[in-house]
Symmetry: C2
Subunit: 415 residues, 2 copies
């Protein structure tokens, strides 16, 4: 259905170069999970010795695959990832847990990897039992045909209402030896008509012990996937995983086993940048989005307060509809600052759109030129900056506007 939607006007104009990661191979196919003949399953194979880290939805009602991954993450190693679209295996009770077990058993059989090294993700309808036996017919073939250069095809295989595949890649270094990071993401609303979801899988050939990898990922997610919102709704299935094959060790890359190892500086920055890129691509594919909005809140009493205020602005339907209407409606920004519940002094606040100050010290800026701001608001990228002038707390979040198309995608899907 939404597969027929035109590509988002905010999609990146070019797709990154995607060098293969040594030790990772991909394959995708059609298992007929929901529709016949549609690519709906992706298998990634990881060489022995691959370490793994993950962060998941904070939902109190997570999907069965999220439960499964949380459990397996304790072992710290990964050999395969099995992802399907068409069915989220969420709110499926004990039947759902059995389906994850069968999925993993079939993946283990096809790949020869132990059960506790298999990771799973599912996206699609909620509340319907997932018939995992359907994987049986395709996994053997996928395991046999997986290729190191299959990342882009794999990213396409896990799309649901996405209008473009989301991929990114970067090369950095650890101990002077080049290492590569490549990843994919899917997601368009926090939850789309078929209960789409944010899924992201990132791979590197660096050699990093699982506990260190987990720290790096948990930290990097704050300024990336945990700093975006499309509609404030949170999927039951959100999954972000990072896999390190360690293949770069053969080329002399040091094996990192201790948190805070100084040689991780460049890698940490590259990971943050890559995740930010993928997260922003999710926003750029936000359902019905026509504007990409960056909200920077500074001068708050703490970074946490700044983020809460920034998310209050980003999630406000009135701010989002005003941006859709190309209006620099700073009154609604004040409203959203006020409702966040964090300290804010009305008479100290200043607000800029695209660097043009429209309000300061509790008043409309007398010098602001309406025509300049109007011209700015017609653009595709909108920067909003709020300075609370209270402290040093700062946060940046990304969102998109709220359009009639969003309502149509999420309300008209039955007709």
């Amino acid at each position: 259905m939404a597969h027929a939607a035109p590509v988002s006007p905010l999609a990146p104009k070019t797709i990154s170069e995607l060098p293969g990661i040594e030790g990772v191979r991909f394959a995708s196919g059609a298992a007929g999970i929901r529709y016949k003949g549609r690519t709906d399953v992706m298998l990634a194979l990881l060489d022995e010795g691959t370490t793994v880290a993950g962060v998941f939805t904070r939902s109190k009602c997570p999907s069965a695959p999220v439960d499964w991954c949380r459990e397996n993450l304790k072992h710290g190693t990964a050999r395969a990832i099995l992802v399907n679209s068409g069915n989220a295996n969420a709110f499926t009770g004990a039947v759902g847990a059995a389906a994850t077990r069968l999925s993993a058993e079939l993946a283990a059989k096809a790949t020869g990897a132990p059960l506790e090294s298999i990771f799973l993700a599912s996206t699609g309808v909620i509340g319907e039992p997932l018939d995992a036996s359907k994987f049986d017919g395709v996994l053997g073939n996928l395991a046999a045909t997986a290729r190191q250069d299959g990342l882009l095809s794999a990213a396409k295989a896990i799309m649901t209402t996405d209008t473009f595949p989301k991929v990114a890649s970067l090369t950095t270094q650890i101990g002077g030896v080049p290492v590569t990071l490549s990843g994919m993401a899917k997601g368009a609303g926090m939850i789309a008509p078929d209960m789409a979801t944010m899924l992201s899988f990132v791979f590197t050939d660096a050699a990093i012990a699982a506990p260190v990898l987990q720290k790096l990922l948990s930290r990097a997610v704050r300024g990336s996937f945990n700093s975006i919102t499309v509609d404030s709704d949170t999927s039951t299935s959100d999954t972000l995983m990072l896999f390190a094959t360690g293949a770069a060790a053969k080329r002399g890359a040091p094996a990192i086993t201790v948190e805070g190892d100084k040689r991780l500086g460049d890698f940490t920055r590259a990971l943050g940048k890559l995740l930010r890129d993928l997260a922003q691509q999710v926003v750029r594919d936000g359902e019905g989005a026509r504007k990409f909005i960056e909200i920077c809140v500074k001068g708050a009493t703490s970074a946490q307060a700044a983020k809460r205020i920034a998310l209050s602005i980003a999630n406000s339907p009135l701010v989002k509809t005003a941006v859709a209407g190309e209006d620099a409606n700073w009154g609604r920004i004040v409203m959203a600052v006020g409702k966040a519940g964090e300290q804010a002094k009305r008479d100290e606040l200043s607000i800029c759109f695209g660097g043009i100050r429209v309000a300061q010290k509790g008043l409309r800026d007398p010098d602001y030129n309406e025509a300049d701001v109007s011209a700015y608001m017609r653009g595709e990228k909108i920067d909003i900056e709020v300075d609370l002038a209270l402290g040093r707390g700062k946060a940046i979040v990304w969102t998109c506007d709220l359009t009639k198309e969003y309502v149509a995608i999420n309300g008209d899907y039955r007709s």
Copy 2:
């Protein structure tokens, strides 16, 4: 602009009988606050001895009139209420505080009442200085012509994007003597194109001391105005005030001076009912609303947890668009329960639409009849019930659906 909008299809079919309250008189007129020739000012006069209670926006950036009312509330007595539309006098800094003072001085001059007994509310554009001197020309005439039967006209005078005036009245008893409650409200979005706002003024001839009145109001607001949401946005100016003239004492009604006085039982229930009626009228005039939604969450670990989950459902754009699309999308309900952050056991949850159980014990209810639910969803009032099966906590909140008209009202207003 939105004044030309057709009346909401969810508007009450009839307007309540509105008996006058002895000791309260109303007048309205045109002061030219924003537009010439439009009714934009309402004055209510209260007899000597009137007590007052109030609750206000929780915004950290409240408007100047909210600051003013909070200050005057300490005195506990009221003689006049001056309300204008066209300008919210919000985010106007020291100039705004001066404008409230001048407004109150002009009202005091016109009515002969002391400054600390004057209450103010403003609704309209934000960030523009309010020229309070404009009240000077009209207040003398309003004070001279105020009438006891002017409540409905007054309710109309404070409308902004409202499509119908919101009024309600009830008669109850204290100590066997009949007393009346009558009130008005305005509000359509939490904030509408011109920064509309929720304002409500309720009057009674009961004789109740200000501290007792305040307790009654603070309690009654929880299950009424604090249990509604249109779009999750909170105005800088929300104001709810309750005035008791004490005129019923002349007919033998007892003067209530102690909290918990047993004779207040009926009055307390009537106040709760009246506020709930007015609050629900605000939802029924929600911008673009086509469905009135009642969300009942029960079985939560506490009443507070139940309310947080109910509001998470009520504020979810995906739940609201699904209702607009007439889809009983219980997967989105599960999602909204999960994101609320309160305890919820996926495998214990059950969900009903209009009494029809669609999900239970972590699974789709195998017995539910899709055709019955579809027929129900085509109605105008949608009841959603979620049973968490964990404890005895319960809450009910009211909201409306999210339609393309909401986006049009809040995004297209410049064109």
